[in-house]
C-alpha cells in the first residue's frame, strides 16, 4: 500500500523582494514560526543561520543586477521535521556541485567567504538544490527539532 502523503501541522508562506534588509526579515519569520515548537536555542540558531545563507544567495547571486521575488515556504511536521523552501526566479546555477564546494565563490573581491552551502549542510539534516541557468534556484532545507521529551529520557 502506498504511504499516505504526510500533511504539515503548520505552514507559512511569504514572498519577499530581494533587498538585503529582508535577510533579517526572513530570519525573523522563520524564527517566530519555529519557536512555536519549543526548539533548543542552538537548533533555532542553526535554522536561522541556514535561512540567512540561502536568502543571501538569492540577493547576492540570483538577482545580482536586479530585484526579484524570493518565495519562502516553511512547514512543520508532526515528526518534528522543519521544512524550509527558498525559491528564486533569478539567474540559476550552471554548476551546482562547484557552487556547493567549500570556499568557492563566483564573486571574489566582494568579501564573500564561499561558505554559504557548507554552513547550510553543516547545520541542517539535509540540503537539496535544484537549479537551471535562467530558470532560478530552489533550495530545500530540512532539520528535525528534537522535542524536550526526548531529552528527558
Amino acid at each position: 500500500m502506498p504511504r499516505p502523503k504526510l500533511s504539515p501541522i503548520n505552514e507559512l508562506s511569504a514572498t519577499l523582494p530581494s533587498l538585503s534588509v529582508n535577510e533579517k526579515l526572513a530570519r525573523s519569520l522563520v524564527s517566530s514560526f519555529v519557536s512555536l515548537f519549543d526548539p533548543r536555542l542552538d537548533e533555532l540558531n542553526d535554522i536561522k543561520t541556514s535561512v540567512s545563507e540561502a536568502v543571501t544567495n538569492c540577493i547576492v547571486h540570483a538577482y545580482r543586477d536586479s530585484v526579484g521575488p524570493i518565495e519562502l515556504t516553511i512547514r512543520a511536521y508532526g515528526s518534528g521535521v522543519i521544512y524550509i523552501k527558498i525559491k528564486d526566479k533569478g539567474c540559476g546555477i550552471a554548476d551546482i556541485r562547484q557552487a556547493m564546494e567549500p570556499m568557492y565563490t563566483s564573486l571574489p573581491g566582494e568579501e564573500r567567504s564561499g561558505l554559504g552551502f557548507s554552513v547550510m549542510e553543516s547545520l541542517c539534516d539535509s540540503v537539496e538544490v535544484k537549479s537551471r541557468p535562467g530558470a532560478g534556484t530552489t533550495v530545500v532545507l530540512r532539520k528535525r527539532i528534537k522535542s524536550r521529551m526526548e531529552y528527558a529520557h
Partner: protein, 102 residues
Amino acid sequence: MAVYITTDSDGVMTAALTGEIDHHSAAWLRTDIETAINDSRPRLLRLDFEKVGFMDSSGVGLVMGRLNTMRRLRGELELVNLPDYIRRVMLMAKIDRYVKIK
C-alpha cells in the same frame, strides 16, 4: 547593529561589534572599521564579538577582509569573546589558521 571603535595609546584598536552580522549589516561594519583603520593606523586590530547576537558566513568575509587590510599595514588581527556558535562558523572557514582567536 553598530560597532564601537576605540584605539589606545599603544596602537591597539578594539572594534566591539554589536547586534546581527549578515550580508546587509557587514557592508556598514566594513565601512566603519576601514575608516577608523585609515584614520589611526593601528598595529593591532581586535574584533570583539561579545555583543553579537547573530552571525552568518558574511562575518567570515568581514574578518578575512580586515585580515587583508591589516596585512597590508603590516599589522595584526585578533578575534576575542566569540560565542560558541560564532566560533563554529569561524572554524568551518579555518580562520584560526590565519588569525589569533582568544
